[in-house]
Symmetry: C2
Subunit: 542 residues, 2 copies
Amino acid sequence: MTKPEDPTRVLIFDTTLRDGEQSPGISLNTQEKLEIAQQLARLGVDIIEAGFPITSPGDFEAVQTISRTVEGPVIAGLARTHVADIDAAWNAVKDATRPRIHTFISTSDIHIQYQLQTTRDDVKGQARAAVAHAKEYVDDVEFSPMDATRADIEFTAEVCQIAIDEGATTINIPDTVGYTMPHEYTACLERLYELVPDLRDIVLSVHCHDDLGLAVANSFAGLLAGARQVECAINGIGERAGNASLEEIVMLLHTRSADVGLRSGVVTREIARTSRMVSRLTGYPVQPNKAVVGRNAFAHESGIHQDGVLKERTTYEIMDATTVGLEANSIVLGKHSGRHALQQALADLGFELTGQGLNTAFRRFKEIADKKKHVTAMDLEALVTDELREEIAAYQLEWFDVEASTRRPPHATVGIRTPDGDEVTGSFTGDGPVDAIFRAINAATGSDARLREFRVDAVTGGQDALGETSVVLEVGGVSGSGQGVSTDILEAAARAYVRALSNALRRRGIGDGSGAPDGGAFMAEAEEATAEAASRQPVRTP
Amino acid sequence: MTKPEDPTRVLIFDTTLRDGEQSPGISLNTQEKLEIAQQLARLGVDIIEAGFPITSPGDFEAVQTISRTVEGPVIAGLARTHVADIDAAWNAVKDATRPRIHTFISTSDIHIQYQLQTTRDDVKGQARAAVAHAKEYVDDVEFSPMDATRADIEFTAEVCQIAIDEGATTINIPDTVGYTMPHEYTACLERLYELVPDLRDIVLSVHCHDDLGLAVANSFAGLLAGARQVECAINGIGERAGNASLEEIVMLLHTRSADVGLRSGVVTREIARTSRMVSRLTGYPVQPNKAVVGRNAFAHESGIHQDGVLKERTTYEIMDATTVGLEANSIVLGKHSGRHALQQALADLGFELTGQGLNTAFRRFKEIADKKKHVTAMDLEALVTDELREEIAAYQLEWFDVEASTRRPPHATVGIRTPDGDEVTGSFTGDGPVDAIFRAINAATGSDARLREFRVDAVTGGQDALGETSVVLEVGGVSGSGQGVSTDILEAAARAYVRALSNALRRRGIGDGSGAPDGGAFMAEAEEATAEAASRQPVRTP
């Protein structure tokens, strides 16, 4: 990707599916990653970092599927400096209209000494070889000197110069551990421009972590210093305290454009929906006081009528909720709405459903509409997302009965449809009704899954709200996550558990080599490389 | 409060109970506010802004109770420039060892014109009169020119000079709408120092909102520019996107102290516990990727073993989890632990329980320990907090029975103990088991409460986790929130609903004038002033 002609244009590099997906407890399957990538394309991001293909066959498959399907953004795959990493990244992204390889190696002495256990000279050699190898495949190559903010800046500059000499078109300066401060990061980038004048001819990028609450401010300082790509993630998810929040960076540039003079290409009206989708699929809640996308971020959303805002909106609001798409919760459908109305409403939300998919969605819609007077756009999003997950579930919840009381232990019985189509049943008396259901599902499926996390949220407020549950469980050392939606919290919990179990078993299957995607020979090679790499050094990232 | 001798000392002004409590859906009662204030004192904050006494008798009572009980920090009460506001603030804080009155008025033309509907001259007059009146009561007076970052800086400077001339000991520059940027805020404060040299003799304070994700960075820029008080809130709660996060500011100063040369007096090891308590009592979740206090903020908490961290901790960690008190989840008690062990463990957590309180806690502990192999410090915190709430509940859940199934609508029956000691029962067939329980409680108590929000979290992970639920409901125009803890999600939900209902009814009672705290004549006056003020202009704050 060449540097944009327009000096005010900031490229948005979304790493929700790579750095974001590295967060503990998140385990998206290919279908879910594809769904997020398609929404990121609607959102108008410039680059999607779709994954880290060498790390697992599942990651490879997801990057490949996204590369083959999603139109619009550049699709990037991450790679260490190893040949096998770069080969895997290329094989995963090569079918994209605009593929990118993103390779990285640490330049800080603490990483070189303790993590890589090598020398500065070796790092220079690895960086040179990696960029050169990537350039054999594709023109669009990004290079990151990991932990740059804690590195000797002269050495980092040398390595960046090498990467540029070999043809890197983007140089990204990561604050890997979230340590830097705005004035310090500004000074760092200004010094790099002095030491490496060639940086002015390519795209300089920033990648900041939020450990001290400064990810957005540091990224913004980088843009003011001349960077024109910002690496960020929806809802600020990512390693530890996460990455800079895409929505905060974008709305900062948008709201203060008159003073700052920079702009992104993001369709801001898609922000709220993207945030909800990522929260739902990752199981990571967005706190109510989160900037831009928290449910209280816009005061008039909260039901507190403010005299000031009524007199003049700008007295207390610097952004309009409609700008980020927050009006989407207006009522759209009722119990008498028909199939065509549903199809139209879904199309407005970006979901093109026909045939069997529409039939299934309509059946679920009717079930919900029977119980809930008004079905909102947010409900529909939750339902359709729920339906998408249904297709890939190996086990299916058929029915359950639960008796719960303060006066005796709760008892649950469940019926589960197996992948072979048989119905199996199981019962359990547990500590609570949810516990009883989960253990009854274990009994029915003969699994020894253990619950790691369990969360319930109302999708929309009010007495007849849909409940949305998230489950993370572990079975045989493999974790899986699942979500469920229903007006019945126990049913939502049971659905989520069955899906999490299916996902974990499916991941274990892929790990065993069964269920692997096409490109068998390459995959076998990639798996060997992964195993070898894992034994030699851990897979760590900017 | 005079300016500290030590130029490196930053005063931490906590507004969790004032700006934080203004967040939609949060409705803490006096007991809960006191509990948080006591924890803030353990945390070592310098100033607690305990509330906005004129706004309601409940707020007045809470500020007064905290002033009379909590030792250590300065206790501040907020007031507009009106005489009645300042009188109410003084009456609420006067019993504190070190009381402060904090008064404010907008200096931005947009607020003066649309909200206050007055003139700049009138604003100057009001500011002068307010500070002068407050000084008649107490030496420690803080003044804030609201919306200062969008105001004409020369005019703001004039108003600040007036406040200083009248004796204000702290001047706070609020970024009320979260609009400013670090370099802009720096320039604003530097210009104020030029225009008002007297600012160097008092404490300059910063108060930043997070609408664009810059609250911490802006506050930090203010400190670098010379401010020595920072207004912030636990978990960053507050109006809209909230205030600067106390924990992020404190850990930024702590982690980068060698480079920044500033320090707070906060006992960092109390941070995690304070965060959990505020999240639990407000019902506001902390997202997993929240800096410092999110459950993923420290990688080794997440269960992902990082080779780099194992080789050398500092390769990927800039803070140690024990510094913020995150080791507290080690196992402390089991089912065979006795009353003395429980009392000791609670004392270690800062809860001094004896007599009946200890008996009740021990009974609940035994119930939980029967179901859960290991009881952790976090479980104990949840339980004790639960017990504290029990004391003020007007209704009590006695028992319930629920039948839920995918094959017929769920049915619930509940028994509730009324404030008079009678047991009433109610039944309902609902959309889901939780819905059925909530409506059965309505039927039993004869209330028409409507659910506004419902949330469930596991207090600790794993199959036998305690479930913690939060309910916000509305009855007759008054909202109330409640929490419940149990290994049974339905029981936790029922407890939370009953408490929320009790709190809402209690608040409605206070609003009616019944149940008002002592100082009846003053309270009547304050209520009149509130009603009068409400009809004239809304109560809005920095």
